[in-house]
Symmetry: C2
Subunit: 339 residues, 2 copies
C-alpha cells in the first residue's frame, strides 16, 4: 500500500500551506478560484482520501447517524429503513444500522458505540422496556434522538408512528360491517404501547357495535409469519368458532392464512382475515390480503427529516406525530356465513 496521502502531502507537492488546501477542498470563498482548481486536481491525481475522523475530532461533527430497530429483516421496519435511507442519502450522512431484538442491553451497547463514534443523532424504534435513562444518556451527550413506530411514555421525544388504535378499529369495523360477530385478535404482545393501543382499538370497535369482548379470543404471539402459522391451530380449535381474525400485522396474517390452508380450510372464503401495515407482499398473497396501510414510508421519511432539521439547528416541537392509517380492502375478507 502506497503511503498515505494527506493534506500536507498535497500542500508540499504544490508548495503551499495545508490551510489553503483544507479551505480549497471545502470550497471556501477565501481561496482564489484557480488555486482551488489546482488543488482539487492534485488531490484527485494523488488519490487523496479525506480523513473524517481527524476532521470530526476537530469539528465534533461526524456525519454519522445511528438507526436501530427491532429487526431489519422484518419488512415493516425494512420499509421504514428504506425511507430513512433515501432521505439521508441526499444529505451526505452515513447511517449505521443495528437490530436490538428487543434486548435493552444490546440497545444500550449500540447507543454507547454510537456515542464513542461521535454520532450526530439517532433514530430508534426503542426496545420493549427501554428505561428512559438510556435516552437521556444520548441527549446529555449532545446526540438527539427521534423515535419511530414505538413511543416511550415517560419521555417527550419527537415520535413518528401510525395511529394504531384507530387503524385496528378500522379493520375491526370492516369485519363487523361484513356481519362477523366472533372476531379473534391474533399475534403481537400487549407489553408495548403499540400493543396496548392496538388491543384498545379492537376492543373499542367491538364495544361500539355492542359485541361482548371475549378475552379468550385474544391470542398473542410472535409478530412473524411463523407466529401466525403457529397460531392457526389454536385459532381453529377455539370453542367460540370465530369466523374472522384481526391480525397484528401482515406477516402474522399471511402466516395464519397459510396455517388455515394447511388445515384444509380456505382463507377468504371460510375465514376472513385482516392484516396490518400493507406490506408490498400483501397485494400478492393468496388470497390478496385486506389490510390497513400504516404509512411506514411516511414515518421513516418524516423521522429522518425531523432529525436533519434538528441537526441543522431548528428545534421543532417534540411530541407524538400520528400518521392516519387507511383501509385497503382485498380478497381475504368476505361477508359472514355460519361456519
Amino acid at each position: 500500500m502506497a503511503q498515505k496521502i494527506k493534506l500536507s502531502t498535497i500542500a508540499e507537492t504544490l508548495g503551499i500551506s495545508t490551510a489553503t488546501v483544507s479551505l480549497a477542498l471545502r470550497d471556501s470563498p477565501l481561496v482564489a478560484a484557480n488555486t482551488r482548481d489546482k488543488i482539487k486536481d492534485q488531490a484527485r491525481a494523488l488519490g487523496y482520501i479525506y480523513n473524517r475522523r481527524a476532521a470530526s475530532l476537530r469539528t465534533s461533527r461526524s456525519g454519522i447517524i445511528g438507526v436501530v430497530v427491532h429487526d431489519i429483516m422484518n419488512p415493516f421496519y425494512g420499509e421504514i429503513l428504506k425511507a430513512i435511507e433515501s432521505e439521508l442519502d441526499r444529505s451526505r450522512h452515513t447511517f449505521i444500522l443495528s437490530n436490538h431484538y428487543d434486548s435493552v442491553e444490546k440497545q444500550r451497547t449500540f447507543i454507547e458505540t454510537l456515542l464513542q463514534l461521535g454520532g450526530d443523532g439517532v433514530i430508534m424504534s426503542p426496545a420493549i422496556g427501554t428505561p428512559p435513562e438510556d435516552f437521556e444518556l444520548a441527549e446529555e451527550n449532545g446526540m438527539p434522538a427521534i423515535l419511530v413506530a414505538r413511543q416511550i411514555d415517560a419521555l417527550d421525544l419527537p415520535t413518528f408512528r401510525g395511529d394504531d388504535s384507530y387503524g385496528i378499529s378500522l379493520a375491526t369495523n370492516h369485519l363487523i360491517s361484513l356481519g362477523h360477530r366472533s372476531i379473534a385478535m391474533i399475534g403481537g404482545t400487549d407489553q408495548t404501547s403499540t400493543g396496548r393501543d392496538r388491543y384498545q382499538g379492537y376492543v373499542n370497535a367491538l364495544r361500539k357495535a355492542g359485541i361482548e369482548v371475549d378475552p379468550d379470543l385474544r391470542i398473542p404471539g410472535a409478530r412473524s409469519k411463523q407466529g401466525g402459522f403457529e397460531a392457526a391451530v389454536h385459532f381453529l380449535s377455539l370453542p367460540q368458532k370465530p369466523t374472522a381474525a384481526v391480525c397484528w400485522n401482515d406477516l402474522v396474517a399471511i402466516g395464519l392464512m397459510n396455517g388455515i390452508s394447511r388445515a384444509g380450510l380456505v382463507p377468504g372464503r371460510d375465514i376472513s382475515v385482516t392484516g396490518y401495515d400493507d406490506l408490498e407482499e400483501a397485494a400478492i398473497a393468496t388470497p390478496a390480503l385486506t389490510t390497513v396501510w400504516n404509512g411506514q414510508a411516511e414515518v421513516g421519511r418524516l423521522a429522518a427529516r425531523a432529525l436533519l432539521d434538528r441537526l441543522a439547528g431548528s428545534h421543532e416541537p417534540d411530541g407524538i406525530h400520528l400518521i392516519k392509517p387507511e383501509m385497503r380492502i382485498r380478497q381475504s375478507t368476505v361477508p359472514y356465513k355460519a361456519r
Copy 2:
C-alpha cells in the same frame, strides 16, 4: 449538556497523568491494580465516554467494518447479514450496512465513505458490473475486502458462496426424477456469475437426462416475489405447457405459486415448483416449498471469520470457497401427470 469528560478530566480529578488513565482503561499490565480500579471507578462516576475517533486517529484502527449487499430487505441477504452480525458482535466491531441496489455508483460511494471513516475491512456482495478498480481502491488503502454470494472473475479475493451450478442441478434432477420433461426456469438474470452458473446447472441436468433445452422455457425476471408473481402469466401461457418450474430463489417460487393459485391452478398438484435458498419462509408456504438449502448462514459466518482472521494478521489463502447445497424436499413438487 454537561461539558465533555475526557481522559484528562479523569486524570486531573485523580491527580495523575492521562497516560496512566489511558493504559488503565485498556487494562494494560503496566499500571498497578489498585490505581486501575480507582481510575475505572472514577471514569464510571464521571460518565466518561471513550472517544473512538481520537483513538483511531492515533492507532489507525477504527473498529468499523462495512457490509454492503444488493438489498438488506431481501431475506436471502438478511440471513447472511444475521450470521455476519452475530460473528462480529463477539469481537467489538461495529458494522456499517448499506444497499447498493446493483448501482456501481452507489457502491463506490459507500467504499469511499468507508475509507474516510477508516474502516478496517469490508464484506461485500458486489454490484453487477463492478469494475475491479473499485476494489483495488479499498485494498490499496489497506482495507481488506471479502466477497459473499457473488464473485468477481477478474479478481482473486476471498469469496464465499454456494455452489450454484450444482445446487440448481439438484433441483432440476429432482424434478426429472419425478418424471417431468418440460421444465421452465423462472426469474433472475444471466448477467451475473451466479446467474450464469445457475442456468448452467439447469442446462447440464437436462442434457444429462437427454432432454432438449428449449430457450423459450427460460423466463428471466426480478428476483422477488413480485417478479415470480408476474412471471406466472407468461409461464402459464407457454405453448410448451411446462409441468414444472425451477425458480431462481424461494421468493420467486412463492410469488410464482401465488400467481398460479390466482389463475385457478394448484401448485404442488397441477404444477411442481422448486425454490432456492431454503428461507425460513419456505417451510410455511402453502404448499410447503421444495427447495435447495444454500447455506447463507454458513456463508456469512465464514466470511466474517475470514475478515476477522485477516485483520488479526493471518493471511489465509484467497480464492473461492464453495458451500455445497442440499435438497429440501417438501410438498410443492409432485410426480408428473399430463396437464
